[in-house]
Each structure stands twice: as structure tokens, then as C-alpha cells.
């Protein structure tokens, strides 16, 4: 990302010249790739056939965009501050989440607790299963050949690539998700957080700590 775009300042170029006051060029004006056009074509055919409505499609897109790691963080912070909630979360995650108004989606869900003796991490070696209702869409690396191949065989090295060093004496469990079982990790509450309330604690919890590739850092 350095000077490879400098030629755009040449007025003879066919590139649209950037005028800071001009309305933004509409995304619609950029010709779609084959797969982008395919998504539109399939959606429109299904709407025409009455399989679902345009409203259903918009609502679903919006609903799924509202699924973000903040939901997983909220569940975690509640578990850290409410032992009864935590006990329920570890035995019946769907019901526990529903109690605080969080929908975990159609797939069954298990929450695995990290402790001083055991660290947990999730993967889907066959495809891309992920607790999408609690964390949103998964990052590209989660679906990569490298992560899916190696984290089940050499998890300590893979975690070290994320800057996480798990002590040799601490057990490391890798959970391979499927369409029939999703996992989320309950990270350990970091030191130095005794005075913090639930909302402050939730701020510390990151997506990657709920996947299990990192731990939750103490407040800076």
C-alpha cells in the first residue's frame, strides 16, 4: 500500500478522478464478479418463486449482522460474576444464554471452560462450523487449510503463532465442531479485575479468546 496508486493522479488516465465533494461512486456501478451476480440471480429467482420474500432476506441479513462477539463477551462476563449462571452455562448453554436474551441459533452448543489445568480451543476440520450466533461470521483464518489441518495435531505450535504459550503441564483440548455440535470457549477471568463490573469485564473479552486461540489479557 505505498506509491502504486500514484499514477491515478495523471489526468489522462481512464480512472474516475477523485473529487472529495462528489457523491460517492455507487458500488452498483462496479460490474459484479460471476459469483456476486450469481448471489443476486439466485436470490431474485427464489423471491419470484415465493420461497421467501425480499423482506425476509433483508431481515435475515440484518439479524445476522447483529450477531457479533459482543454477545459471547456478554455471556462470559455474566459467567464470571454469577456462579449460578456459569453452572447452567456449562450444562445447558442454550437455556442459560436465553435467560439473558441471547439466541444461540439452531445448532446444539457446548461451552467449554478454561481453567488453570485445561485450555480449550475450537476448530472445524471438515468445513467451517462456528458459533456464528454468538460470535458473528468467522474470520478467514479459521476456515483456512493451515488452521484446520494443524490445530488438531500440533495445537501448541498453532497457538504460539497467535502469541499464546500454553505451559507443557497444562492440558490442551481441541474441539472439532460439526453441524451437530458447536462450541464456544469460556476463557479464564484475568487477574486484577476484582473491582470491575460485568460491563467492564465484557470489554476485556475478545472474539479470539472465545475461539480459544488467545487468553483474555488483564486490563492495561
Amino acid at each position: 500500500m505505498s506509491n502504486d496508486h500514484s499514477h491515478h493522479h495523471d489526468h489522462g488516465h481512464d480512472h474516475v478522478h477523485a473529487d472529495p465533494h462528489a457523491p460517492r461512486k455507487d458500488l452498483e456501478d462496479i460490474p459484479p464478479t460471476y459469483h456476486q451476480a450469481l448471489a443476486d440471480a439466485v436470490a431474485e429467482l427464489l423471491i419470484e418463486k415465493g420461497v421467501f420474500t425480499g423482506g425476509d432476506l433483508r431481515d435475515t441479513i440484518e439479524y445476522m449482522q447483529g450477531r457479533t462477539p459482543e454477545l459471547g463477551a456478554k455471556i462470559t462476563a455474566r459467567a464470571w460474576t454469577d456462579p449460578e449462571f456459569k453452572a447452567k452455562l456449562l450444562t445447558n448453554a442454550k437455556e442459560a444464554a436465553a435467560e439473558i436474551g441471547i439466541d444461540t441459533g439452531p445448532a446444539p452448543l457446548l461451552v467449554m471452560e478454561n481453567t488453570p489445568d485445561v485450555h480449550n480451543v475450537i476448530v472445524c476440520t471438515l468445513c467451517s462450523c462456528y458459533p456464528v450466533f454468538l460470535l458473528g461470521k468467522s474470520p478467514d483464518w479459521y476456515k483456512s487449510r493451515e488452521y484446520r489441518s494443524r490445530v488438531v495435531r500440533d495445537p501448541r505450535t498453532v497457538l504460539s503463532e497467535f502469541g499464546t504459550d500454553i505451559a507443557p503441564e497444562r492440558e490442551l483440548r481441541v474441539h472439532d465442531s460439526t453441524a451437530d455440535m458447536r462450541y464456544m470457549i469460556l476463557p479464564m477471568r484475568p487477574e486484577g479485575t476484582d473491582g470491575m463490573d460485568e460491563a467492564q469485564l465484557a470489554q476485556l473479552v475478545t472474539r479470539d479468546s472465545l475461539i480459544g486461540v488467545i487468553e483474555v489479557n488483564p486490563p492495561a
Binding site: D14, V16, H17, K25, L27, E28, D29, I30, P31, P32, H35, Q36, A37, L38, A39, D40, A41, V42, A43, E44, L45, L46, K49, V51, F52, D56, L57, T60, I61, M64, Q65, V123, T125, L126, C127, S128, K137, P139, D140, W141, K143, S144, R145, E146, Y147, R148, S149, R150, V152, R153, V158, E161, F162, D176, A179
Partner: protein
């Protein structure tokens, strides 16, 4: 024991994890929503997640690695819906032309300069 297929990669050798991610584009969100609506029991379901996966796993190793994640999804959705007779290949072809025509350069020519 049969040989493993290319999507079944757990335990194989591979390079270091490149921690890439990107912001999802509107067509990716749309594709995701199409799959959720089709796999919802309220639609039948017309297409189960297992069928989505089977469509992806049948693509062949070359295509599997070349396409991006949601490209694999929408290609699988289109194939499975055609197979099941929910949509027909000729109407999909016509609709694709219609979508492309809507984005034809004529509408943008005036803004150049």
C-alpha cells in the same frame, strides 16, 4: 479404509496460519442469508446444511481451493437448487444475464473524466 477427501484435512501438514480476515461484502451477507432461509425448517427445509456441504465437497480439489468461502457457498446453493428442481438452469442463465445487464457500463460512462 478409503482415502480421505480433500476437504478432510485435519492432521495434515500445512504452513503457518496467516491471520487474515476481511469485512464481509453485501453479496457475502446475502449468500449467508439465502442459506439460512433455505435451511430453515419453515421453508421445508428446501436445502439442508449437509446438502450445502455435499455440494461444496463435490466441487473437486482445484475449485475448492481456488474459490473464496462464500463463492463456494453460492456455487453449491445454485447447483443443489438446480439438482432438486427448485430452479432451472435456463432461468438461472437468463437471470444472470439480467443482473449483468443492470451493471452494464452505459450507466457509468457519463461519470468518467
Amino acid at each position: 479404509m478409503s482415502e480421505r477427501r480433500y476437504h478432510d484435512m485435519g492432521g495434515l501438514d500445512a504452513g503457518p496460519v496467516a491471520r487474515t480476515e476481511h469485512n464481509f461484502e453485501p453479496w457475502e451477507n446475502k449468500t449467508d442469508a439465502i442459506v439460512r432461509l433455505l435451511s430453515n425448517p419453515k421453508s421445508g427445509p428446501l436445502m439442508r446444511i449437509d446438502e450445502l456441504r455435499r455440494g461444496i465437497e463435490d466441487m473437486g480439489p482445484g475449485i475448492y481451493d481456488e474459490l473464496t468461502y462464500y463463492e463456494r457457498w453460492i456455487a453449491s446453493v445454485a447447483n443443489v437448487l438446480i439438482e432438486k428442481g427448485v430452479i432451472h438452469v435456463d432461468e438461472l442463465g437468463r437471470k444472470l444475464e439480467e443482473v449483468k445487464a443492470r451493471h452494464a457500463p452505459a450507466s457509468t460512462a457519463a461519470s468518467e473524466g
